[in-house]
């Protein structure tokens, strides 16, 4: 259970060196992405000007305040509250994000599924779990919103954050088939019969 400090971006070798139950803290650039962002990028053929190669994306749509472009807020936006949404809805975008844009790390909550797991193994990537709902804390790890793209989709724009000490985050899916969610789901399903018996349910 090692801890990794990553100054973004990272290489394939760095992604493959990480295992489930390790922890990771990110520094530097982090991109924010969400349902509509990816629907427009992969279904509507829109492109981003950002270079996501080797980078991490976090499943988010932040609360921001428009303050106009200044040195302290180069994007024109000031962060108010930035947290993480459920990843499950965005399962089908993991592979294209990795294949077409070179993304190495997906950060979200609740985990992803088999297709993402295979993409992590095939291409070299990991999934990091943020504690969902702990957004007030997560916001303190974000220094600035540096740039924004596809902003007509606001709040589901493509956000470029500058982060410092973003973590520690738990590695819950790795490039070697490790997946904490499937382990927990399996043991929870194994407990089902016992729980139903305790409720006096006759047969199911």
């Amino acid at each position: 259970m090692a801890h990794h400090e990553f100054n973004m971006p990272i290489t394939e070798a760095q992604a493959r060196a990480v295992r489930v139950n390790d922890t990771v803290t990110l520094n530097g650039t982090l991109y924010g992405i969400r349902d509509a962002t990816q629907i427009h990028m992969f279904d509507h053929g829109r492109k981003t000007r950002f270079d996501l190669k080797g980078h991490a994306v976090v499943h988010t749509a932040p609360n921001v305040r428009w303050v106009g472009e200044t040195q302290a807020a180069p994007s024109g936006y000031e962060p108010i509250c930035i947290g993480t949404t459920t990843s499950a809805r965005m399962e089908r975008f993991t592979r294209p994000l990795m294949e077409q844009y070179g993304v190495r790390i997906i950060i979200g909550k609740g985990g992803l599924f088999a297709a993402s797991q295979k993409a992590f193994s095939d291409i070299g990537g990991i999934y990091l779990a943020v504690i969902g709902g702990a957004a007030a804390l997560e916001t303190t790890w974000i220094e600035q919103i540096e740039e924004v793209d596809l902003d007509d989709l606001n709040p589901e724009s493509l956000w470029k954050f500058r982060v410092k000490g973003f973590g520690p985050l738990l590695v819950s899916m790795d490039a070697h088939g490790g997946n904490l969610y499937t382990e927990v789901n399996k043991s929870a399903k194994d407990n089902r019969a016992e729980v139903l018996a305790a409720l006096g349910v006759k047969s199911s």
Binding site: C81, G110, A136, N185, A198, G200, V201
Partner: protein, 291 residues
């Protein structure tokens, strides 16, 4: 008692923001209870982070969670209260819009097909405004619930058969908790609606999911069912964020309604650990805020 609609507008704005920033005391107590009994190291660490987040939100007067939710306003009008119902709804919508624009808050509300966001947290039939009546003399209360999407995604209705009895209800609830896994942001409040029509059953599941911890179903049969389900749900081992542990749910809450002789409906709706709510109460003594 005459209700001042300008005050309703201000209060509707205020309770949206308050709900997003201050977790009710019963939920904080719920965290303490789960933290004291959690045995799984990952689960324990995650609960610790969640508890720390409550403090950070209070210290920085920031939102607990970025999800501003679908705004729900539950209005309860007591006896002796004089208010123009249509104007009351308009005042609530205006307060909700002002909270979004003046704080500002992320508007999480879009048209269902065009996906257009008006950046007001409002749209067709949103905010959801539920109006009910009580026997409390000279009192009008408005409860605000920002319902997050992670937990709302995990909503189910089963129109089961009378021959399936109560067993199908219990089994359905447990299977919903398993299917939700970490997607609902556990520990959750599992809300269960039993009986009624399809729409009433789903509505009751939301009422159950958003009820204060420690409260009981007014129907003794429902109270017994929620007690039985609460006693075993944490044996599943889903744990905080679905990463394993004892703290899958704060509680299971049940609400019941009479149903048709041919029906046996059961619905499940969940509330995430950021189980936010706020309340404004209007009495002759004035306007007060609470949970």
């Amino acid at each position: 008692m005459q209700i001042d609609l300008q005050q309703v507008e201000e209060a509707s704005k205020e309770i949206y923001i308050r709900a997003l920033k201050l977790l009710p005391p019963d939920i904080k107590e719920g965290f303490k209870r789960l933290d004291a009994t959690e045995t799984h190291p990952t689960g324990k660490a995650i609960l610790g982070t969640m508890i720390r987040n409550i403090k950070v939100a209070e210290d920085n007067t920031n939102l607990l969670c970025q999800d501003t939710g679908i705004p729900i306003y539950n209005v309860e009008i007591g006896t002796g209260v004089a208010v123009d119902g249509y104007a009351l709804k308009q005042a609530i919508i205006k307060g909700c819009t002002r909270a979004t624009q003046e704080h500002p808050l992320r508007s999480s509300v879009v048209h269902p097909t065009t996906r257009k966001n008006d950046h007001t947290s409002c749209g067709r039939h949103v905010p959801v405004i539920n109006i009910d009546f009580s026997n409390k003399n000279n009192e009008l209360s408005i409860e605000m619930i920002p319902k997050g999407s992670g937990s709302e995604y995990n909503s189910w209705l089963k129109m089961a058969l009378p021959a399936d009895g109560v067993d199908v209800i219990k089994t359905f609830v447990i299977d919903c908790v398993l299917e939700a896994g970490g997607k609902t942001c556990p520990p959750t409040i599992v809300g269960v609606g039993v009986g009624g029509t399809a729409d009433l059953c789903v509505h009751l599941s939301k009422v159950a999911a958003t009820r204060a911890l420690g409260s009981q179903c007014a129907d003794p049969e429902g109270a017994q069912l929620e007690k039985a389900l609460s006693a075993v749900v944490n044996k599943l081992g889903v744990g905080p964020q679905g990463l394993g542990g004892d703290s899958t749910a704060f509680a299971v809450h049940v609400e019941t309604a009479a149903t048709h002789i041919t029906l046996n409906p059961v619905a499940v709706n969940m509330q995430c650990h950021s189980a936010r709510r706020a309340r404004a109460t209007f009495t002759p003594a004035g306007l007060s805020y609470g949970f």
